[in-house]
Symmetry: C2
Subunit: 360 residues, 2 copies
């Protein structure tokens, strides 16, 4: 059952239930402890120091971020152990920014090419920069093949970089509801092969890091010793569809208001693509589930309009506030400046989306 | 030919060419003057007071906005004639905000139900609030039928509202490349019918307002006397595909950097769905055109990664900055806080996205 929200919110609003959130954070932390795997959650989902603090309080080893800008935003809030899980090119102004961060926090960075390793080593100068070699576990996005990881790791070491190990993101776990079980095995096997490749190259991996919410619980066993899930804090319609979360574990909704019933057979809500995004996996219909209209999907979106087909009979009255579970919460959060924080259906706080838009 | 950009931009960046922008603004203004039609451009596209100022300097009668929050942002920058082209429900805090705005600027608001008209009249109190009746010209989103416009207009008048006339948004002009020509006629005819309906109800329309970039030049003739296009200031891949703009008229690109070539047959750029959005009409392939890679589309997106297939041969070097023409510029702008403003390939200014995220 999705959490309750206050009736008097101005909409569209990003609403998080702090109790469900804290339960999600505690549960993932506990599972990782049970498996003896370090948790370094991805902060790109929430971009919020209030959520990150709760993750560290529950034992997370540090944060994962997607950009130097996100790292800077969290460093400014006092977070001291940050991994940029991205093939960061430390050229131009980024070199000085990287160096400056390195002097202030424990920073590690992803690398998937010799050229980017060279730029990182140059930017780091006399400071010791830690890198993790990114490997491709089947997503075909970034990362070298598991077998090539050792060579790149050794080359990084030769450049004076501290090679902590290997990491991957098995994003193909999102491709269809049956994917996570299969992909978790691919992810685990690819990391094991990469870890072996590093050992053979004389650069043994301290860190073997997997990362995606759908696979996190399945791939977390030796040699994998770190997981970087992000979405699990809030969950979304996609995670429910993938079997990674139940309705009870959805901690975030977009609150929206019925603003027009002028066209027969539908209602229009004030959450459009500027509140819900157009993110939609091929296997999901529509753009978010409207909990308060029997879970029907938002059929189509304009920027400030969401069209929802309704059954025969009178439409819900204008002004009705509905909860929408978005398809993909990470991009939705990035549209808003503020979380409305609720507990037991009451507004208890407001949190900033601290690193909103920090892409660079 | 798409405009040139500096090579040393940190990316992903929202880059606008001020010369192309000013030409687009001047051209649309001139066409509307020639046709004797008032121009009230939609500011939801740019959300920027610098762009809006240029529109007014070229003779725009005022601005169109999508929300009370956008109206407030532009009012705070000194804009005094604002039309909220949205079925605004003036309940809760919105009632007081509407009243406060009404005391400061010349405000008009869309209405498509008697119930919302009642709320508006109540919120306005002793101030005179101008409304326009929204009609559905075929999009099937919001708005009453053209024939029903007169009844609603009379009811609004009875409530003490000042009824200026009728408006519509013919968004179905985006459905396929051949749509604009057909839809412009539907839009024009629906507005003519609505205008007649108002006349028969004894509430003659002073304003008969059409609005969409693809139809703007086609529907602008009597009784239509106002147009509200938005996207024409920047244009985008969608407008080029619809024949509403040429490559020369594209005034905005997302600058992005090649960050990984580790996977054969593709490059990865640092513009993902958090920079380009997932907006994609069914008739367009991919998520933006990469001008500097022969115009190929971005094939797929993750949040901070754009995957671009490349032909055989060596990939462009890491660090190459490419220009991406986004599919849909309005939602892309809403992801960024700042425009990098260029002229002749040089950075000349930075503008804030003044009303970014002002959805409420």
């Amino acid at each position: 059952m999705t959490f309750a929200i206050p009736e008097d919110l101005e909409t569209p609003a990003l609403v998080v239930d702090v109790d469900v959130l804290e339960r999600n954070i505690a549960t993932m932390a506990e599972r990782m402890r049970e498996r003896g795997v370090r948790l370094r959650p991805h902060a790109k989902t929430h971009k919020c120091h209030e959520v990150a603090s709760r993750q560290l309080e529950q034992g997370a080893a540090g944060l994962t971020v997607a950009s130097l800008g996100e790292a800077e935003a969290f460093a400014a809030r006092g977070f001291e152990d940050l991994f940029v899980a991205y093939p960061l090119l430390a050229h131009g102004p980024k070199a000085a920014r990287l160096r400056s961060l390195l002097e202030r926090v424990r920073l590690s960075v992803g690398v998937d090419s010799l050229e980017s390793a060279r730029l990182l080593a140059e930017a780091a100068g006399s400071e010791l920069l830690t890198v993790l070699v990114e490997i491709d576990s089947g997503l075909r996005r970034t990362g070298v093949s598991p077998e090539a990881a050792g060579d790149l790791a050794r080359a990084c070491g030769d450049l004076g970089l501290d090679v902590a190990g290997v990491f991957t993101h098995a994003g193909h776990s999102y491709r269809e509801p049956s994917a996570p079980a299969v992909v978790a095995i691919e992810e685990h096997d690819a990391l094991a092969a990469a870890s072996e490749s590093l050992r053979l190259s004389g650069v043994p991996a301290r860190t073997v890091s997997a990362g995606s919410t759908p696979t996190a619980l399945r791939s977390a066993s030796a040699p994998v010793n770190e997981e970087r899930p992000g979405t699990y804090v809030f969950n979304d319609r996609q995670q429910v569809g993938l079997g990674s979360a139940t309705d009870d574990q959805v901690a975030l909704v977009v609150a929206s208001t019925v603003v027009s019933t002028a066209v027969t057979g539908q209602v229009v809500i004030d959450a459009g693509s500027k509140a819900l995004t157009s993110d939609k996996p091929a296997w999901l219909n529509g753009h978010g589930a409207v909990v308060d209209l029997d879970g029907v999907p938002v059929g189509s979106l304009n920027e400030c309009h969401g069209m929802v087909a309704i059954a025969d009979g009178p439409p819900p009255p204008l002004g009705t506030v509905v909860r929408v579970v978005p398809n993909h919460v990470c991009t939705v959060v990035n549209l808003f400046d503020t979380y409305e924080v609720v507990s037991n259906g009451k507004l208890v706080d407001r949190w900033p989306v601290t690193a909103r838009g920090h892409l660079i």
